[in-house]
């Protein structure tokens, strides 16, 4: 029989707090982490349509991870490392007592090492001096630099992967970790989602795609407003989330505190369009349905959904439509919240940060508010959305994540019962 999988440790680096305790306190207060981008030195912001983002301002690589690992990796990998360390410490798992080849690392990252990537590309084209490209350029921009550095820092020698499926990357990382443990490849996996690409080129690219909010440049904290009538695009964020997932037997053996059970997962492709979801929401509904089936959880058991909810016009409407189509007359009874209303869209980190919010909701019985849900859009109205905190003893929850490239992920988390 396949192993049951549980979540035993959490770590986060986010625009509303570094560390789970700071993150959750801000989240429950509905505090926005969105602020104005003052400049992309040396670029003025004038040419950018959007001028706001969920930026992390007080992260010190030296303080959070020490210089020996911090120097050779990009900002996203530094976040990944800091979140992993917190999660490991939170789980109480002592790596020196583990069989190292039984502990894996699976990272979800959408953009990767774009800070150095952009800088070096710019310098090369500007000065045409190929010999001045930094020797660390390739190791830093290679998309698995974070999963590599997390293994090196922790000594985890088991399966080591990076999953890059844009905005759903770390939901897939969590799902693949579930498979990895169920099939006996590992006893435990350090699951991470990380991205830090609020950089001149990537930000300009999302502006050009007309994907970002530009209506609230003067009121940044109001810009990310999933499901609200006045939403006008997503707000880029940066950060990392890490979860320690392990087999129930392994957790029991080391008498670990169990936050929740990771019960199921589904991955699908809409095979439809690079950046636009199918408007009827059928594929999203199917993904949730398949995840519940994998988890052996019935529709009637689901009482919370951590929505993908990026605050784009089409995305939120499609997700709401899919929830309504799947849950029918129960749709308005399910609590729903959008973590991106607080931290913005952290791309590859979004699934992991959403999973942390979901895990904490199950563990504490508290659901964080959806910020700026002031004027419900009739096109995506759901009874379970609220701009206030909600209290609920959650039995089963869905975490949704959808990515460019027409891909969807849904993860099922449950209250743990022995």
């Amino acid at each position: 029989m396949a192993s049951r999988v549980v979540i035993t440790g959490l770590g986060v680096v986010s625009p509303i707090g570094i560390g789970v305790s700071a993150f959750w306190k801000s989240a429950m207060a509905g505090q926005s982490g969105i602020s104005a981008i003052t400049s992309f030195d040396p670029f003025p912001m004038d040419g950018y349509r959007s001028k706001v983002a969920g930026q992390i301002r007080n992260f010190s690589a030296e303080e959070h991870i020490g210089s020996s690992h911090g120097d050779r990796v990009d900002r996203y990998a530094q976040f990944a490392l800091a979140a992993s360390r917190e999660a490991l410490s939170d789980s109480g798992m002592q790596m020196e007592q583990e069989e190292p080849h039984r502990v894996g690392v699976i990272v979800g990252a959408g953009m990767g090492g774009m800070v150095m990537g952009e800088r070096e590309i710019t310098q090369l084209y500007l000065h045409q001096k190929p010999h001045r490209v930094h020797p660390n350029f390739i190791p830093v921009i290679t998309l698995n630099s974070a999963s590599g550095i997390v293994a090196m820092a922790t000594g985890a020698k088991g399966p080591n992967f990076t999953i890059s499926t844009a905005c759903s990357s770390s939901a897939h990382a969590l799902g693949q970790a579930w498979y990895c443990i169920r099939t006996g490849q590992a006893d435990a996996v350090i699951v991470v989602g990380a991205d830090a690409s609020i950089t001149p080129l990537v930000f300009a690219g999302f502006c050009s795609l007309r994907a970002l909010s530009s209506k609230f440049n003067e009121q940044p904290e109001r810009a990310s407003r999933p499901f609200d009538r006045n939403r006008d695009g997503f707000v880029m964020g940066e950060g990392a989330g890490a979860l320690i997932v392990e087999s129930l037997a392994h957790a029991k053996k080391r008498k670990a505190r169990i936050y929740a059970e990771l019960a199921g997962y589904a991955a699908t492709s809409e095979a439809y369009h690079m950046v636009i979801p199918r408007e009827d929401g059928e594929e999203v509904a199917t993904t949730m349905k398949l995840a519940l089936k994998a988890a052996d959880v019935s529709l009637s058991e689901v009482d919370y959904i951590n929505a993908h909810a990026t605050s784009t016009n089409i995305g939120d409407a499609v997700e709401a439509k899919a929830i309504r189509a799947l849950f029918k007359n129960r749709a308005d009874k399910i609590a729903v919240s959008a973590t991106k209303s607080l931290v913005g869209h952290t791309l590859g980190a979004a699934g992991a940060i959403g999973a942390i919010a979901t895990t904490l909701a199950i563990h504490t019985g508290q659901i964080h508010p959806t910020a700026n849900y002031d004027d419900p859009d009739p096109d995506c109205q759901l009874g379970g959305l609220s701009r206030d905190p909600q209290e609920k003893k959650i039995q089963a929850a869905l975490l949704n994540a959808f990515g460019f490239g027409s891909n969807n992920a849904a993860v099922v988390l449950k209250r743990f019962r022995a």
Binding site: S67, H131, R132, H134, P135, N136, P139
Partner: protein, 105 residues
Amino acid sequence: MADRAIVDKIIQALAEYLKRDAGTIKAAHHLRDDLGLDSMAVIELLYKIEETFDLQIPDQDLVGLTTVESVASYVEGRLAPAKLAVKKAASNPAMAKSPTKRKAK
């Protein structure tokens, strides 16, 4: 013994890279055995030295660069012809006009 000014510049570059006091780094130090630089770190250091001295170090020259002193001697050797060329150029107006062209020939 390499030029002291060059040795000092290299030690300074190493001190910044290793985040340690320049006073603790000696010319005789071996980059790997004494200073703990792995092969990637040596490449990063040379990248910095190329910038400091405005040099390009070809791959085939990397082999002997194992101590602070050997790096300094190498840099000195590379800088010497350049210094000589500058001196020659100053005393020969024809060279000063098109040193690059002559070098290319």
